[in-house]
C-alpha cells in the first residue's frame, strides 16, 4: 500500500493501529451491503450497541443503554425490540439497525458500501431517504459506494468514477450526468436501463484483468476513441473545467 489518506488534515496512513481505533466508528463509520451478515446472529441488538459504545467511550452501562435506545428509536424501531436478535427483523429494519449502530458514536463521515443493493426497491427508496435526512440533520458527510447510477443522480452532490482501480472522472453530479468527459463514464451512463430507455447500449468487452492491466489508459481496449497515445501513456487526472476532472487524453474533445 502506498499513498496518503487525509482526514481532517491528518494523514491516516501514519496512524498506529491503536490510534486508528479512535478514528473508526468515532470519526468514520461504515455500513455494508448485506446487513444480515454484518450483525452477529448470536447477539441481541442491544449488545451490538453496548459493545461498540464501551469500546470507544468510558460511560456507565445505563447511559450506554439509553444512547442505544435513542439511536434505535431515531431509526423508527421500537425500543422494546432492542432485546431481539437480528433474525427477528426484516431486511429494511436490519439495515436501519446498521445505520443506528454507525451513528451512535456520532461520526462526521459515513461510508455506505452498496447500502441498498440487497433490499427491495421500495425499502431501498426508504433507506436512501433516511440517509439524506441524516446528512442534513447531523451535517454529516456521506461516501456512497454504488454501481447504481440512478441512486447517484438522486442522492449525491459529487461523483467519482472508478475504472479498473483508477479514478477516471471526478466532478459535480451535474457535470458527470450532463457533461461526462471520460468515454467510460459516457458508456456507463448510456447503458443504464431506466423508464425512458428506448435503445439498449453496452460497453464492448469486459473489465480487464488487474494482475496485468492494459498499458497506458486502462480503458483503451474498450474505448472507441482510442488512439496510439492511449496505449502508451497513462492519462493524468486533469481539471478540464472548475471542479471537473477527467483522466483522458482527449477529454477536451467532449467539453
Amino acid at each position: 500500500m502506498s499513498g496518503k489518506i487525509f482526514f481532517r488534515g491528518r494523514d491516516l496512513t501514519q496512524l498506529s493501529n491503536q490510534m486508528y481505533r479512535r478514528i473508526r466508528g468515532e470519526e468514520i463509520a461504515l455500513i455494508f451491503q448485506d446487513p444480515m451478515t454484518r450483525l452477529n446472529p448470536l447477539m441481541r441488538i442491544q449488545d451490538h450497541f453496548l459493545e461498540e459504545i464501551h469500546a470507544h467511550e468510558s460511560v456507565s452501562s445505563t447511559e450506554a443503554r439509553t444512547r442505544a435506545r435513542e439511536a434505535l428509536v431515531s431509526m423508527g424501531i421500537h425500543e422494546t425490540r432492542i432485546r431481539n436478535y437480528p433474525h427477528e427483523f426484516s431486511g429494511g429494519m436490519r439495515q436501519r439497525i446498521m445505520i443506528a449502530l454507525a451513528l451512535v458514536l456520532k461520526p462526521s463521515l459515513l461510508i455506505a458500501d452498496e447500502p441498498t443493493t440487497s433490499l427491495d426497491v421500495i425499502v431501498e427508496a426508504q433507506i436512501l431517504e433516511i440517509l439524506q435526512d441524516l446528512k442534513e440533520a447531523y451535517h454529516m458527510s456521506l461516501l456512497l459506494i454504488t454501481h447504481n447510477l440512478g441512486i447517484v443522480a438522486e442522492v449525491c452532490d459529487r461523483v467519482a468514477v472508478l475504472y479498473a482501480g483508477k479514478l477516471v472522472e471526478l466532478g459535480s453530479v451535474r457535470d458527470i450526468f450532463h457533461k461526462p468527459l471520460h468515454p467510460y463514464t459516457q458508456g456507463l451512463l448510456a447503458s443504464v436501463i431506466h423508464l425512458e430507455t428506448k435503445e439498449l447500449h453496452s460497453i464492448e468487452g469486459s473489465p480487464p484483468d488487474l494482475i496485468a492491466p492494459p498499458s497506458g489508459c486502462r480503458f483503451h481496449p474498450r474505448c472507441s476513441y482510442a488512439q496510439p497515445i492511449c496505449t502508451e501513456r497513462i492519462p493524468p487526472l486533469v481539471e478540464f473545467e472548475p471542479g471537473h476532472f477527467a483522466a483522458c487524453h482527449f477529454g477536451d474533445k467532449f467539453l
Binding site: 454501481h147 451512463l189 436501463i193 431506466h194 423508464l195
Partner: protein, 435 residues
C-alpha cells in the same frame, strides 16, 4: 370471511399458457406439540389465486418485490413445485397433475432459466457437455435412436455448436471444452440459454435471468432474448423485480403483491398510466438518472408483510398511500399502529402506562382487545379514542366502536368490502378504487 374473488373469467383463446386461480401454499415447519395445539394448518400463502394467460410469441413480465410469489409462479409453470389448487394449461392441455413420462415430455417444451448462471452450471461439466445434456436426457424423443453411438455423439456436438452460435457464445469451437469457471458472467448466462434452447422449447421461463449481470452485459442478453423471440416466435414468462428492464422487453405486465396479481395488462398502458397504488409506488421509486429531476416521493410505509397471515381484504392496504376505510382494516392494523405510536416518546407521552405494554393487546379478526385494571378501563377507552385521532384517516373511519366490557377495552372494526377484479382501460386491476 370475504376474500378476494375472481370475476373476470378466462375466455378460450390461442394462449400457450394459462393459469387458472393457481394457489401454491407451503407448510410451515412446526414442532409436533405446537401442531397439535393449533387447529388448522399453518401455511405460507406464496401464491394465492393467480390467473393469467400468455399467447405464443408474447413476453409477459411478472413483476414484484421479493417474497411476492413471482418465482413460485414460474416454478409451478415448469411443475417444479406442486400447485395446491387451481389449474395450469399448456397448449390447451391440463398439466396441473401431470407426472412421470408425460411430465418429462412436457419439460422439453417449457424450460426455465434462473438468476445465477454460475450456480446453474455444473462446475465439473464442460460447457459443451452441459449444453448437450438435455439432448441425452430426451434422446428417446429426439434425434437418432442409437444413444452412445459415435453418430449420436457427433449429432449432439453439431446441435450444441449450433445452439452456441445462436446465442452468441463464440468462438464456439474453443469454448466447447471450457469449464464454467473459465467463462465470464455474460458468457455463462448465454451458455444457460443455449442449454435451455437446445430442446427447442415453446415457452421459456426466465426467473431474474439478467438481474445478476452487469449493466453492459445485461443489455446484450436482453437483445438476445428479443432476437430469439423474433426469429423463433419464442414465448417468455419474464420474472423480475426491475420494472425498467421489464418495460424494455415485455408486451404484457403483471404486477404481483403477496401472492396476488394486483394489476395486469398491456405493458404500454400500464407504464403510461398505472392504476393500482402499488404499481404507482413501484414505478415511482425507479431512480431517474438525471440530477435535475430529483423529486420527493410518496413512499408506501413499512415492508412486505408475512405471507403466513396476509392482511385481510386488499393485501396492500396497511401500506397503501390511497387506502380507503373499506379496504380491509382489522384488529392487528390497530395494534401495529399503536405499537408505532408508543415507540415515539414525543407523541406517546404517558400513553404507555395506560395502553401498554403492547404485548398485552389481543388482535383477533376485527376485534382488538386489552385486558386491564377495572379502575383503569374508562380511562383506557378515552385514551384509545385520543390515540385514534392520530391514526390514518381511513383506519379511523373503519373503526366501528371503542367500548369497554368489565375490565376489557374493545376496539371493533367494520367488515370490509369484497375485493373484486375490475376491467379498467384495457387492464385488470384488483383495487376498491376502481370497483
Amino acid at each position: 370471511m370475504t376474500g378476494p374473488a375472481t370475476v373476470v373469467k378466462a375466455e378460450p383463446t390461442d394462449e400457450i399458457l394459462r393459469l387458472d386461480d393457481l394457489k401454491v401454499h407451503f407448510p410451515v415447519k412446526m414442532p409436533f406439540v405446537q401442531r397439535l395445539l393449533q387447529r388448522g394448518e399453518t401455511v405460507v400463502h406464496a401464491v394465492d389465486g393467480v390467473s393469467f394467460g400468455i399467447r405464443p410469441g408474447e413476453i409477459l413480465g411478472l413483476v414484484g418485490e421479493s417474497g411476492c410469489g413471482k418465482s413460485t409462479v414460474g416454478r409451478a409453470c415448469v411443475r417444479l413445485v406442486k400447485p395446491t389448487a387451481g389449474r395450469i394449461f399448456f397448449d390447451g392441455q391440463d398439466i396441473t397433475k401431470l407426472g412421470g413420462e408425460k411430465l418429462r415430455a412436457l419439460r422439453r417444451r417449457i424450460q426455465i432459466i434462473f438468476q445465477d448462471p454460475h450456480a446453474s452450471l455444473n462446475p465439473a461439466m464442460t460447457i459443451g457437455k452441459a449444453i448437450g445434456h438435455p439432448l441425452r436426457i430426451h434422446s428417446s424423443v429426439f434425434g437418432p435412436q442409437k444413444t452412445g453411438s459415435e453418430e449420436f455423439g457427433e449429432w449432439i456436438r453439431q446441435k450444441v455448436l449450433n445452439a452456441m452460435k445462436e446465442v452468441g457464445l463464440t468462438p464456439e469451437e474453443q469454448l466447447y471444452d471450457k469449464y464454467p469457471g473459465d467463462l465470464s458472467g455474460g458468457q455463462k448466462q448465454r451458455a444457460v440459454m443455449a442449454r435451455a434452447l437446445i430442446l427447442e422449447p415453446n415457452l421459456l421461463v426466465v426467473d431474474e435471468g439478467v438481474s445478476m449481470l452487469d449493466m453492459s452485459v445485461r443489455a446484450k442478453v436482453l437483445e438476445l432474448m428479443l432476437d430469439l423471440k423474433r426469429r423463433h416466435k419464442l414465448t417468455y414468462l419474464f420474472i423480475t423485480h426491475d420494472l425498467a428492464t421489464a418495460k424494455f422487453i415485455c408486451d404484457k405486465i403483471a404486477i404481483m403483491y403477496l401472492g396476488r396479481i394486483v394489476e395486469i395488462g398491456p405493458a404500454r398502458e400500464i407504464y403510461a398510466d398505472p392504476k393500482h397504488p402499488y404499481t404507482k409506488a413501484l414505478l415511482q421509486v425507479i431512480p431517474i438518472p438525471d440530477p435535475d429531476r430529483r423529486a420527493k416521493k410518496v413512499l408506501p410505509r413499512g415492508e412486505v408483510p408475512d405471507a403466513v397471515h396476509p392482511p385481510a381484504g386488499c393485501r396492500f392496504h396497511p401500506r397503501c398511500p390511497a387506502v380507503l376505510a373499506s379496504c380491509g382494516w382489522e384488529a392487528r392494523d390497530f395494534v401495529d399502529f399503536l405499537d408505532e405510536h408508543l415507540s415515539d416518546p414525543k407523541r406517546a407521552g404517558d400513553d404507555e402506562t395506560i395502553l401498554g405494554p403492547i404485548e398485552d393487546w389481543r388482535a383477533k379478526g376485527l376485534v382488538a382487545s386489552l385486558e386491564t385494571n377495572p379502575l383503569k378501563v374508562r380511562k383506557a377507552v378515552e385514551r384509545t379514542n385520543a390515540v385514534l385521532v392520530e391514526a390514518p384517516v381511513a383506519m379511523k373511519q373503519a373503526v366501528e366502536s371503542v367500548s369497554s366490557q368489565n375490565r376489557t377495552v374493545i376496539v371493533r372494526f367494520r367488515s370490509h368490502h369484497q375485493l373484486l377484479q375490475s376491467n379498467v382501460q384495457g387492464r385488470v386491476v384488483e383495487c376498491l378504487l376502481y370497483q
